[in-house]
Amino acid sequence: MGTSTTRILPFAAAIGAGLLLLAGCGGSSTDGSGGGGGDEEITLTFANADPAETWATVIEGFEAQHPNITVKQLNIPYAQYTSTINQRMGSGGDGIDLMVVDAGGAVLDWNNRGYLADITDLREDAVAAAVSESMVTAREVDGKLLALAPWTTSQFLYYNVDVLAAAGVEPPPGDPATPWTYEQLTEAARTVQSAGAAEYPLLFDQWDTYYQLQMMGVSAGGGDGIDADGVVDFSGDGWQRALTWYHGLFEDGLSPRGITNDKNGALFQEGKGAFIISGPWGVSVANAGGINYGVAPAPYFEGGEPATSTDSWAVGISAKSENLDAAKEFLRYLTIDPAGNAQAAEVAGITPTNKEAFAAYVEGVEASAGAATAGFGAILQYQLENNAVHRPAVVGYSVFEPGAGQLFSDIRNGSDPAERAAQADEEIGAQIERLR
């Protein structure tokens, strides 16, 4: 037995050596040093929900200006981002210094969990640099600024010029002060359908998402669907008007059931849709397809107020970061510095929030497709300044948003808007109660 043990020992040692070698292959979460000033080497870990190339340009620009700071990315797939951050931050922070924060209640939720550092000292400079003040204040909780948005969004009505011409439909006006109503849009889509000019008369970039439908409820007078106390109301007249209209699109075959969100841009790009309501990224999507298209302001309900969904990811600093000053420096570069903000938005092709970067972005987009995008900048600026609706930062948003998505999805698939909304009010309300 003793001999066997002796012979087993080298074998075990070999395995142990292998494991030690393996352990030596990594384990570099952060250098974990200091506060950011001076010449000490600092590594910032930046968690986001994009491919690495999206942020690579701005990181290179920042590192060139700050040779002692290295920014390391954690690229978490979008669909799993929030749950992964909750898990990592919930179990100690995992060396994360900065992270993207979704719009709406995410900032409140992560503030309540103690994940986000107070960055109110950046507020004044951020407001001065931003296209609109609300882009900054939408990320405040109890007077504390918790994140800054390098990107913003708005909604547009894109149309296929050739399809509308084939159906004999006059294109919507490009003047942001006089958008079409949803009723006019429906009528035009019906004409396209009757003429058989396109397979899908009306597409949305994102079916069933609160981001996409919030502006319809607000325009119809229904508000956000949730108030500051967390009371859910999709049963009021406003939301019922919006939801009944949404329901009718699918009942009448103007919009398709069974098409997932990743296909909508592709369908419009390939000339299979007459209209699509989409964000600023719709320009690059449409350009890639080589179709003849135009851009108009997002519609509103007749008699209601114009409303357009807005916001995008913001970036916050982890309350557990050991590199607070350096992280603030990076955040400042991402948002307040015009060159940095332009770099931050360049690869994603999304709208930057900094005034100077915004102007350059608009110029680029308008030049990208000639007449098709000539009015893009005017529409974007007007909507951001006059009728942008931010997702509500309320307690229970984390259950409200998926609950609303389920409600919209069921209505799209045929549920009665009134009955289903009443059920949603009760169910989402009960879930929020439990969270309290």
Binding site: T3, S4, R7, I8, F11, A14, I15, G18, L19, L22, A23, G24, C25, G26, G27, S28, S29, A49, D50, P51, A52, E53, T54, K72, Q73, L74, N75, I76, P77, Y78, A79, Q80, T84, Q87, R88, S91, G92, D94, G95, E199, Y200, I259, D262, K263, G265, A266, L267, Q269, E270, K272, G279, W281, S284, V285, A288, G289, S312, A348, G349, I350
Partner: protein, 278 residues
């Protein structure tokens, strides 16, 4: 005789149908991956037979995919899977050999424990385990990606069952000739165990190749991203390049398929021997 022929026809037809049901989706993914950008939708709404014909496409999606972070992901996936096979077998082989040949007290209990633990889905323990790994500073490291997959209960089970099938006389003869346990394992048992080693190796490979949750929790920096995470990152909040996603999906699917095809005989043999002795 006639009845037997009828049965053969029915079984063959069923086999062809089953093969088509498996093959067609993979073929569709391949054909769609040859369409640039999102142009595959051209033949999808309404569905046309052209969706299954690779005509008029090209390989730009593959060149685009392999010049981006997916290539690093693919390299990392091979590296992690390779390390897992090498170190996993280095653990499973002696464990299985001991369970099969050494009559130590509590052997049954240890074996039962290994089999029962192997039944627990890894995802059920992934979250608390990832917290421990964070505490040990193993986040975002190859070690963090490889370590949890090393002690694979099923691999130990497959190898142990195979070792039980090796005639005891052979092992006794080796002992009479003066070979110790390790030498017997190395010189006599392992050369006979190629099918079982390949079967166990495939299990270890597949456990890493298809892993998603753990790499998500442990390592997502661009340098250490595994291929499935790099593939998921091709779909962002704003844009989706479905052509490249199809290409990536096809690459990730075809690699284990080719390996299984290559090692089919040994893999099947290793699994079929697991029920012989117990």
């Amino acid at each position: 005789m006639r009845r037997s022929r009828g049965g053969t026809v029915v079984l063959t037809a069923a086999a062809i149908l089953a093969a088509l049901a498996v093959f067609l989706p993979v073929w569709w993914v391949f054909v769609s991956s040859t369409r640039p950008g999102n142009s595959y939708v051209e033949n999808m709404t309404p569905l046309s037979w052209l969706a299954f014909v690779p005509v008029g496409g090209d390989l730009t999606n593959y060149s685009g995919l392999l010049s981006g972070p997916f290539l690093t992901g693919l390299f990392n996936s091979f590296l992690v899977a390779g390390l897992t096979i090498a170190l996993g077998l280095a653990i499973a082989v002696p464990a299985a050999y001991a369970l099969a040949t050494i009559d130590f007290p509590g052997r049954g209990v240890v074996f039962t424990f290994i089999v029962v633990v192997a039944m627990i889905p890894f995802d059920a323990i992934a979250i608390p385990l990832s917290s421990l790994f964070q505490d040990w500073h193993l986040s975002d490291s190859y070690a963090g990606l490889v370590l949890p997959a090393l002690a694979n209960g099923f691999a130990i089970f497959v190898l142990r069952q195979f070792f039980l099938g090796i005639p005891a006389e052979l092992l006794e003869a080796a002992e009479v000739d003066g070979l110790g346990r390790i030498a017997t394992l190395w010189r006599i048992v392992l050369p006979l165990s190629k099918p079982a080693l390949i079967g166990a190796g495939m299990m270890l490979f597949l456990s890493q190749w298809q892993a998603y949750l753990w790499p998500l929790l442990i390592g997502t920096s661009p340098e250490r991203q595994l291929a499935p995470i790099a593939l998921a990152n091709l779909s962002t909040l704003f844009t989706v390049d479905l052509g490249q996603i199809f290409a990536g999906s096809f690459v990730l699917t075809i690699i284990p398929m080719v390996l299984l095809l290559f090692f089919q005989k040994q893999y099947t043999e290793s699994l079929s021997t697991t029920g012989l002795k117990g």
